[in-house]
Symmetry: C2
Subunit: 277 residues, 2 copies
DNA sequence: TTCATCGATACTTCTACGGTATCGCTCAAG
DNA sequence: CTTGAGCGATACCGTAGAAGTATCGATGAA
């Protein structure tokens, strides 16, 4: 399964084998064996290129879900053992820099609840929370629709708000009362920043490389780029940047999400606290 | 994983090994190996009895989910390959004997839709639909809340209704206008029927053994037992039985459910047809 | 036409999983 | 108190299957 996902992602047996830390022949054999077991062609090999078949696309998707479920079983078991032995705790995953005051309020209110446990907050890059939740490394997460894929989780809505553009003070765009998405794409002197991918590398492009939101904010203040954030982030902005509403940006809903099978009481308590805020 | 689930269910290494078709020693080793890998005790062995630890309970639950996910990946891939090759179709799982006219309406309406595909209907025993859906053998199911566990599925509500008791014509209970649940438990001459478990055996008890709803209905007509069914099943009952509403039975909601990651267009079409009925 | 690239195949090595035999512990019956 | 049956753990052995090395065959670019 691991093997197939690696090949399906790389679309190249050699690179996939390298990534897996094995030689190429066993990988070829494993894949054709998998195909024989399933009775279905997963890849079309033309000795010059590898492409996914219909069935292969399905298996790539379902296989990821399955592997995440296996990994989640491991992690949750380990954490249950630790919780039974020592002090119980839960892990909350949230995107760094977003919904921070709703989170602060939530943590404060939950800590005051009777029977509350320690909450470890994991600050993640964009979209990473979903991965953590699926793989059992986190117990509950703060997600943002429609950016994050909430399929397969139970969720409760917490807040719906608009988005604002953060621009360098004095930039020509700041003269407008409000902006549209079109106004923000391909601004010559404010190219979109580039985030590191899951592998730690950056895509090519004109924008500056960013590792964190504070860093990015500084780059905006320096007039090197622009960023869009949620309405509720406005109080965190300094005087060296200007916030302008984006009228046609989709509304973002902040939700609290957890795995549907979660039997952890602390998660239920936390969610109850969140919805009653 | 298979091994651990077998032991956790049997709570007996010998029987679990027999069920798995292997000898007992490799099973013992596999489990202790798993425990070492996870760094957590899963079972408490007292050489006289085996019990689950906290962590073991979690792993039993999460492990089932994970195994189902793996099996689902297999099944869905096979079906995707078949669909790509020949005529596409979807599998709908439903409990035998319940919500049959809503199902008939749905199938009829869906068949009239443009682009509809063949729908294979699987009639299941109680609770079996959930298993089929989780393991990928079915693409969509008709479930009944609160009986079926819809956790982890996307659902749409179709109908909410009460339950009625089906009694032999002329029985003393049929003189009432309505009944309560208490009236129906431990009726001496109408003991509750016994259904076969997943292993095909029957629990001990006074009631008659039943294999199907029609068979059960016949047993009611013969004055041997009673049964409770949904309001909407009333038109299917003959003159030899009497239906009496149960006023304090929980309302049952019929829902259509599908896996949250389903990318199958036909499932989406079927759901859309169902909610528009 | 040649050569580089890439996946498949042939053959060998070794790990790891399963089977048999047996031990040690516990509880119940005599 | 003794003995034996039940049950899980351990020791040891054999084999199946997975990974590595070497090489082939096909394809497309120079």
């Amino acid at each position: 399964m691991h093997y197939f996902i690696a090949v399906a992602e790389e679309l190249h047996f050699g690179r996939a084998a390298q990534r897996l830390g094995i030689a190429q022949p066993p990988l070829s054999r494993a894949i054709s064996q998998l195909e024989r077991r399933l009775g279905a062609a997963l890849l079309q090999r033309t000795s010059r290129s590898v492409t996914l078949t219909e069935a292969g696309t399905v298996l790539l998707h379902e296989g990821r879900v399955a592997l995440d479920a296996v990994e989640a079983a491991e992690h949750r078991t380990r954490r249950a053992a630790l919780a039974a032995a020592g002090e119980p705790s839960i892990v909350l995953a949230t995107k760094a820099g977003a919904s921070s005051q709703i989170l602060a309020k939530l943590l404060h209110a939950y800590a005051a609840e009777p029977g509350s446990v320690r909450v470890d907050v994991m600050l993640c890059g964009p979209g990473e929370q979903v991965r953590l939740l699926r793989s059992g490394r986190a117990d509950v997460a703060i997600l943002h629709q429609p950016f994050d894929d909430t399929a397969g989780f139970d969720t409760e809505e917490l807040l719906t708000e608009g988005q604002i553009a953060v621009l360098p003070a004095g930039h020509t765009l700041t003269t407008s009362e409000d902006l549209r998405l079109d106004d923000l794409t391909d601004v010559p002197d404010l190219p979109a920043p580039r985030w590191p991918g899951p592998d730690g590398t950056y895509a090519a492009g004109p924008g500056p490389e960013a590792q964190s939101h504070t860093q990015l904010l500084q780059l905006v203040a320096l007039g090197r780029t622009l960023m869009t954030v949620l309405d509720s982030c406005r109080p965190q902005l300094g005087d060296d940047v200007v916030a302008v509403p984006i009228v046609d940006a989709p509304a973002v809903t902040t939700v609290i999400a957890w795995p549907p099978h979660s039997r952890i009481r602390a998660v239920a308590d936390l969610v109850r606290t969140a919805v009653s805020l």
